[in-house]
Each structure stands twice: as C-alpha cells, then as structure tokens.
Amino acid sequence: MTGINKNLIDTRAYHFGISHEQIDEVLGRDDTAIEQGLGPDPEQISLAQLGRLAELLHLHPADLIHDGPGPADWEQDYTDGMLAEFALAGAGGDVAGTVTMLGWSPSRLESATSTVYHSPQWSMGVADALALAAQEHGAARADGHEPGGYRAYFAKRTAPDPFDAGALLRVLHTAAPGQSATATGYADPAQARRLAAHALAVIDAPHGADPGPFTDSGFDTRVAVHPDLLYALDLAAAPGPSPADAPEPTFRNDV
C-alpha cells in the first residue's frame, strides 16, 4: 500500500540526531497531528510539508513515499552494524576515529555497536573480541582488551578484498621460479598481517631477520603463500600439513 515511509523518517531522524520537536517545527503541527500525518495515509500530509520534511532529512520527497512493505529487517538492522564493525576494525578500536570516519552521531554508533553485540549474526564471541564498553559519547574499547584479537576475528569474517588478492599475486609473481613449495615474497607489514589473518600466507621472517625491501610504508615483510592455497591454485602437488601438525601462524607486531 502506498504511504509515507515512517520507518525511513524515524531512521533518518535518529541517524541525524533530529528530535521529534524539530520535525514538529518543520511540519508546523502538534504531536497528535504529526502522529496522524506520518501514518500510512498520504492524504494527511501536504506536499509542502513533505518537501520540508525531506529537506530536513536530506532526502528527495519521493523517497518518503513507499509502495508496499518497506525493506526487509535485515537491511535496516544490520547495515550499520556491518559498517561499524568494518570501521572499528580499520580504526583499530579507536572510537573517536571511527566516529570521524563514519560521520555518524555518537548515538548512531552506540546503536550500531549494540546491534553487533546482540544480533545472532555476531554471535561468535564477538562481544569478547570487540570488548566495547558503552560510554557517554558512544562506545570505547574496554580496558585490558587489545585490538589484535578483534582484527583477527574480523579478518575471519570478511572475504579477502581485491587489495589482498593483488598482494597475494604480487607475492606469487616475485617468487623465484621453482619455489612452488614455499612461494615466498614480500608484502608491506599491514598487508602481510591481513594475508596471514586470512590464512592466505604465513609471515615468514622471524623477528630480527634481514628486512625486506624498503618502501613508503617501511620495510616489507617476508611472507610465504599458504601451502593449501598453492594446492588450491594447482601450483603445488599436495596441500600443507594437517592443522594438528602445522605450526601456528606468526602474527609479528600484531598484538
């Protein structure tokens, strides 16, 4: 049924920190009228009011009209959570940086992190790994929790991105011919950690070993492409040893 998209209005108002009083002022109506006006009957709100409301919410007036049921719950509920998770991982748990990066109000970040906490989609121990504590201006990393665990958790939940794939192929390109059993090369330290977290490569240089090439981001890290990946790419005759026999991946400078 065609009508005013009240969910969208509520969501936008919440995200921009717009109060009901501000909406009231824009519409020039009292609370009861607003409640009626924002109902499903489009006849109860004028075009002028619709235009003013759209301007307040940074939308086109047509956006406020919807046909049929609104978007499914998963889209409304989880997008912010995913964005917050991504931003928090990128910011290494720096909440102030995350707020700046996202351009959100603190309340929106708090809502998103709350979604991360309570959604079954994030039920794999994320609360411990993320370890955020609600504060006055959103949320902050709880004392005693290091971001490394969260980074590792996040990496496991996200597919390698095109930059990871490019770094991986560059390692394979730089590997000397005949080294298919080890396939070692260099990547910048942050990229090396991402490849290791995705189990695409193993950081190959023990601390104190000869540094790799020096680039804008410092000395590159020596990495070895994971033997299972080499096998998957048909570049090795056999997969790596079983997990029980394999050494733990090295996360140098990670935590």
Binding site: P71, D73, P160, F163, A165, L169, H173, A175, P177, A183
Partner: protein
Amino acid sequence: MHGPCLGQSLGRGRDYPLAFADLPGLQNFLSGLAASAPARAAAVARVRGAQAGLLLHGISLQVPLELAEQRGPGLTGAPLDAQAADAIRREAANPLIAFALALTAVTGLAIEEVLDKKRAEPLSHSCEVYASGGGALDPPAHYTIPPAARPILAAAVFFQRQTCQPTSDLIAGVTVEQVHRAAQLAGIELPGPDKGAPPVWHTLARAWYVADPLHHGDVPGSGTHVAVL
C-alpha cells in the same frame, strides 16, 4: 572478452585493482556454472574452482561469505539436469508453464517471487534470460539456462511468438498454481518463499582485475602455457 585470457585483455602493468565492469556477463557465467550442478555442495565447489582459476589469470572473484548458506542458482533451486528437463517437458504441456518451472529451478527463488515480481526476457543469446527485479532486495539479474533446459527456453520463445498477444515476458500469464501442479507432476522440488532474504548470491558477486596473470603466453591448456612457478 578479448583474446584467450581475460586477465591479459587489459595488457600488463596496469594500475590495479580495476573493477570488472561486465556484471551481466559475470552473472551469466556464474549462474550457468552453478545452476547445472547436481547438488549445492557441487555448486559451491564449482564457484571455488572458478575463483582459483580466475585468480591465476589475475582476476579476483568475490562472492558472498558463507556461500553455501546463500540462495540463488545452484544453491536453492532443483538441479536442472537432463532428467529434470525431460520430466518438465513431459509433464508441462504448455511451454510457458514449462519454462516458468525451469526458470524457478535456475533462479532458486520461490515461484511466487518469480511470477509476481519478475519479467523474464530472453536475450540475444539463446541460453540467456534477463529477469527484472522486484525491488532493492531483488535486483534484476541475468541467468544462463543450463544446456539441458535450453530446448524448454526455445519452445517458450517460439510459443510466445505464436500467441495472439506476443510479449517479451516469457512468464506473463502463468500462474503459481499452474507451476505448482507441473512441479508436482514432474517431481521438481520448488524452493519455498524466503521473505526478507538477501538478494540471490550471483547478483552480489563482483570481480576485479588485481594483478598481471600468473601465466605467460597463452592460457593453460592451449599448448604454450608457462607458469611463473
């Protein structure tokens, strides 16, 4: 696509990553790959194989995480092999009903979603269908009809042209009840409605050129393959 290797079509030494722009082509490739798989696990294995193969050509193929839990071609529809296609043609006398049933199997969507929200238009290639979407969560998508079911598509196109009111939509006028009955007779299991589910997986797939191909010369299998490793 140009030349024997997709990754080489850009030339070497380009700035990477570079998005692969032919999304319809990507959707056709993936749906064709998965829709004819005999089981969900086989479809996932085929997609993983495609990811590995494309990576050797310098292309990163990204599909949704937890692919096996997604819905769409090869994952939620009935396998559309020769036996299933024969059963559809045998039990659904009307070519349009037969095609609607086959399309349901290919898309992996509930028949209600297919018939109520979509138009299915055959494209210039005889095996491809463009299914327009039903909203933000159900974007338009391109599907490749598996080889076994292409005679069903051809029959539907021919039949539609002979009707009094030809239309480009091959499933216009077909009802849910007709397809349900045909599916029952043909022994084809139809996916149930999945309200609020995310879009079908192959519409979420993306690809990027990420590096020069790992091979020199022509593609593997063409007789002059020289791998880097």
